[in-house]
Symmetry: C4
Subunit: 221 residues, 4 copies
Amino acid sequence: MLNHDLKKEFQVERIAFFSDAVFAIAITLLIIEIKVPEVHGEHLTNGAVARALGHLIPKFIGFIVGFFVIGLYWVHHHLLFKYVEHYSPKLIWNNLLLLFSIVLMPFSSAFYSEYWIYLNNVSLGFYVINISLTGFLHYRLWCIVSNPKNKLSRGLENPHLVSYYKMRALVTPFVFLMCFAVSFISLPLAYWIPGTIFIYMMFIAKYYRKHHPEIFVNSTT
Amino acid sequence: MLNHDLKKEFQVERIAFFSDAVFAIAITLLIIEIKVPEVHGEHLTNGAVARALGHLIPKFIGFIVGFFVIGLYWVHHHLLFKYVEHYSPKLIWNNLLLLFSIVLMPFSSAFYSEYWIYLNNVSLGFYVINISLTGFLHYRLWCIVSNPKNKLSRGLENPHLVSYYKMRALVTPFVFLMCFAVSFISLPLAYWIPGTIFIYMMFIAKYYRKHHPEIFVNSTT
Amino acid sequence: MLNHDLKKEFQVERIAFFSDAVFAIAITLLIIEIKVPEVHGEHLTNGAVARALGHLIPKFIGFIVGFFVIGLYWVHHHLLFKYVEHYSPKLIWNNLLLLFSIVLMPFSSAFYSEYWIYLNNVSLGFYVINISLTGFLHYRLWCIVSNPKNKLSRGLENPHLVSYYKMRALVTPFVFLMCFAVSFISLPLAYWIPGTIFIYMMFIAKYYRKHHPEIFVNSTT
Amino acid sequence: MLNHDLKKEFQVERIAFFSDAVFAIAITLLIIEIKVPEVHGEHLTNGAVARALGHLIPKFIGFIVGFFVIGLYWVHHHLLFKYVEHYSPKLIWNNLLLLFSIVLMPFSSAFYSEYWIYLNNVSLGFYVINISLTGFLHYRLWCIVSNPKNKLSRGLENPHLVSYYKMRALVTPFVFLMCFAVSFISLPLAYWIPGTIFIYMMFIAKYYRKHHPEIFVNSTT
């Protein structure tokens, strides 16, 4: 009996660790898109190397955005699996769908990093779709995990807590889609929006912590 | 005694986690085959970038197929290790053979993605061989793990359950080999076949669940 | 109750394992910056291949430095998580910041490997900033984890042990920043400094082990 | 007390899992050295693609050798950590040295794959040095772990078992160094030797299992 439980726990852990490995590789692959600048022969002064490094600044900005988007989703996934006690084919396949969206990120992030400086709508759109897809798939996972019929979770009995988590999963897609909509009016304006995502999230988190403090008892994140 | 058991359990887990890491890297490496399209200088309109992205569609289709083929095999491996309680050199080396076939996948998948649009038989054949090899090696692992002489598993006493799992391991190689055979008659027709794999699998799963419901008691996947 | 504790322990482990995966990928990506030298056609004598390999020596030196810098930080992280019993959003996000600095390493290490031979200040400076940032973020993590208010750790009650660990976290940034300062006077001299880091560390370790032996009871590293 | 033991066990596991991740990435990076062959435009017949694939055969042979060399060392590492119960800075740093040698493998393996067909001595020598270094570092780890003074292991009390494992760690370096020595007399002959490594190992394993069967009681690998 105990043994059987240990095995089930181990099987749940394997899903989390496989996901962790995919997240970790995707987040680290972001850096291989930034190639070491080539400065040749006689021009190898400090100034020339510094200028070559300076040309990479747009890519570095794209890298930083990409890193924290994937990082944010990992924190989300980590939070989700805090409540998962059992697993089902449905959970496994929806988790794979989420990982598909994560694996796509190094491409869409690099694509966006390459062209955002030219105020290009297409690369921004592609990235926003990828980010939103990941957010919706997270939302879907919360629905599956929190549904009492599926008997997958423990500790999600409070409907306020569940609705808070679901809402939080939708914040990122919402902000980025809004940002994409604004980009048709003014691209430079749109670029200010992702920065506000954290302010939104903190606002929402504070609202819930104030009005429903009871739901955070025993909840570390 | 308890300590000794914990150590054995940990050693089995290490095999599973090493495999997970290999699967995770192989599945994530698929994306680095899709390079960010280069659009130069004065042509940098939204249309030009969109067209460049459009040219990548065949590669994206190959990426999606490759992702779900590796994902399917990971789900399989996850299911297999649910029953593994002990390990032997035989299990370790056959598992390594399976991982060899998985590591080859990013190459064969990229090779196929590059040339499938030209209705090329050779790249399709190479991919089909790789997929079938993985399927047969999974079948072999089921044989090794379920064999009572090897004393590796627990919970596989029911022969119906074992034969169901073995059969399931052979479905993917069977469908892809059939697809390759048809490709000599008509390549476009052959490309419709992999899509039907899921329908086949669902059919078989439903058949077994209907006729041998007793074997799925205590079985979550 | 027990179950809840197991889950919390598992959540802490996931943070450590995700970090491990990122460290492991960053440390392994260092090698892909060293490309196999191309020697063509008729010149393919042993001498030509050996000379081509010889040209890679500066990159190999950069690779060795990069490997042991990341390795040193992994050992540090391993040591830190020995004391972590609980987690909080603050810990998770500061850990992510540390991982950001680690993910940047394959780039800054390759950049430095490419240009150090030309006694270039800019690439050295970039690398030193990256190394120092990682050191400071480790220091910050020690502050967060050891702060009794955060209730994250166990076994860090002794203030001497905590100050020893914090000081140790600052040794690497200190040595590399000193090395960078010296590089403005004499670059060749500066290159001798990183090699002395290990001597410094051993000195400090010995000092503490001699004057505060009581703090190392029950402490394996 | 129990908690303290769990933490120590977790710290040992982290060393094993970090090593696993490095092994897994190194073994998977082998494939990215084999690029998809480019066949252009009008020549895109099945024959042209098959010929392009044929030109990769030497690289595939190198890939297969590289995969099983790293795989063999992983099996070795897995076996070693079966006995590890505690850890020390000495164990951690020697393990890092071993991982250094593993991380170098994708380079030395690709270097060898590129030039072995030209019967080139330098690339073979570099690969042999890398393989031998890994073997010696494994031998060193066995010495450290089995030394009763270090109090790191359990279950290695039998000196016959320890000497068997140490000898086994030296087989691979020995065979490859012999192969390198022979290569100065006849390179084609030298290439036959690595294939015989497995026969040697089986012979030694059989010898020990016959003359010291008592040492394999409770030993699964």
